[in-house]
């Protein structure tokens, strides 16, 4: 009977441990890439040229100091976008060509902002299995419950493509025909550039309708 109790205890212990089978996630696992295109838009045969705005727009609270944005990251954003568009058969118009009177079919810009999320999570004893939130902390809600405090900062990059070819140049903004949004948790590691490049490449990979060569 004593053996049975020990075995039962071991099984329950095993159960508790297996409640969190996928708890280990890397920062990269919180990266998300979303892309969306407008209804009734066919890119191939309708568009050919693009103008890429040569800066990354920083969105920030105007009541605060404008944050610095690392130049190497901005360059990575712009160059990766440009490379993907050129690989998809688009033709770039330069600023001088625009000033000389050429009109691109689409205008593309990128913008970025950071958001800090913080708060507290109350968890009851024997917490619900498998729930992992970013910044959950390094204690898991075993035995008795409590409160976990968390704080993390996410960075977002949004790529926006607007239809200039069919724009009538009234006061209305040009129609947005494609968006790519990338979001991830910021950290101090040195792989930010590679995460940016990977995410932008993925945004174009999952937007094969932008590929004019197919």
């Amino acid at each position: 009977m004593k053996l049975l109790k020990w075995i039962s205890f071991s099984m329950v212990l095993g159960l508790v441990v297996s409640c969190y089978p996928e708890k280990d996630r890397t920062i990269n696992d919180y990266d998300i890439i979303g892309t969306r295109y407008a209804d009734d838009v066919v890119f191939k045969d309708n568009y050919q040229t693009f103008y890429l705005y040569d800066s990354v727009i920083i969105v920030y609270d105007s009541s605060k100091t404008k944050p610095d944005y690392p130049l190497n990251e901005a360059n990575a954003i712009l160059s990766t976008m440009r490379t993907n568009l050129l690989n998809y058969g688009w033709t770039e118009l330069t600023r001088n060509q625009i000033l000389a009177g050429d009109t691109p079919d689409v205008y593309i810009e990128s913008s970025t902002w950071n958001s800090t999320v913080s708060g507290a999570i109350y968890y009851p004893g024997y917490g619900y299995p498998g729930y992992g939130y970013p910044g959950y902390g390094y204690g898991y809600p075993w035995y008795g419950g409590g409160v976990s405090y968390y704080s993390y900062t996410t960075g977002t990059i949004v790529m926006t493509m607007q239809d200039i070819k069919n724009h009538d140049f009234n006061d209305d903004p040009a129609k947005v025909i494609w968006n790519g949004a990338l979001n991830g948790i910021l950290n101090s590691s040195s792989n930010t550039i590679s995460r940016i490049e990977y995410s932008i490449n993925q945004a174009f990979n999952q937007s094969q309708y932008l590929n004019l060569t197919k």
Binding site: M1, L3, M11, I32, I33, R36, D39
Partner: protein, 200 residues
Amino acid sequence: MKKLKFILVGIALLAATIKTDAQDNFFAITYNTALTTGETHDFISKYSWGAMGLEWKKMLNDEVSVGINIAWQIMSQKVENDVIEIPDLNLTLAGTQVRYLNYFPMTVTGTYHINPEGKVIPFIGAGAGLYRVLQRFDISGFAFDQNTWNFGFYPEAGVIFPTGGSADFFVNTKYHYILPSNSGPTHSFLNINVGFSYFF
């Protein structure tokens, strides 16, 4: 109040029955593993190594018993850098997905023991009842839940290995088939369980 009295009397009678009918009750605790099938397999293909089950049976005679079973089955799978399409929104999302399923079967059971006096005691049975199903789809930390109550049932087969001591070894397998609820999917999985049982 009247209802409470009924319940208390019922519990007292049940306790008296258990006390007076020694060896007529069967209890088992099992470590449960599971292989997903069908639509459940499409969602999580990884083998489940948790969690557990508790079973109590009332022996009606040497061969036949009826009882109740409660269990908990945890399934999860991490899928890195996967893509989902949402055609209605012209939307595509890519990220690391973590998928979870938690099943809590609460069933009534019937069992037929073959050769109950033998060195091994094979048995077959079936169970049916309510299943609490907690399903979570998490992509890059954004979680979507679908928690439902479902009706389900299972056929069962197993073997008891009497040890001569107070506890016997116990293995069984069940194929759970859980009907859809709230336009959700049909769930199904094959349990393979090991544990200990004893008559009292």
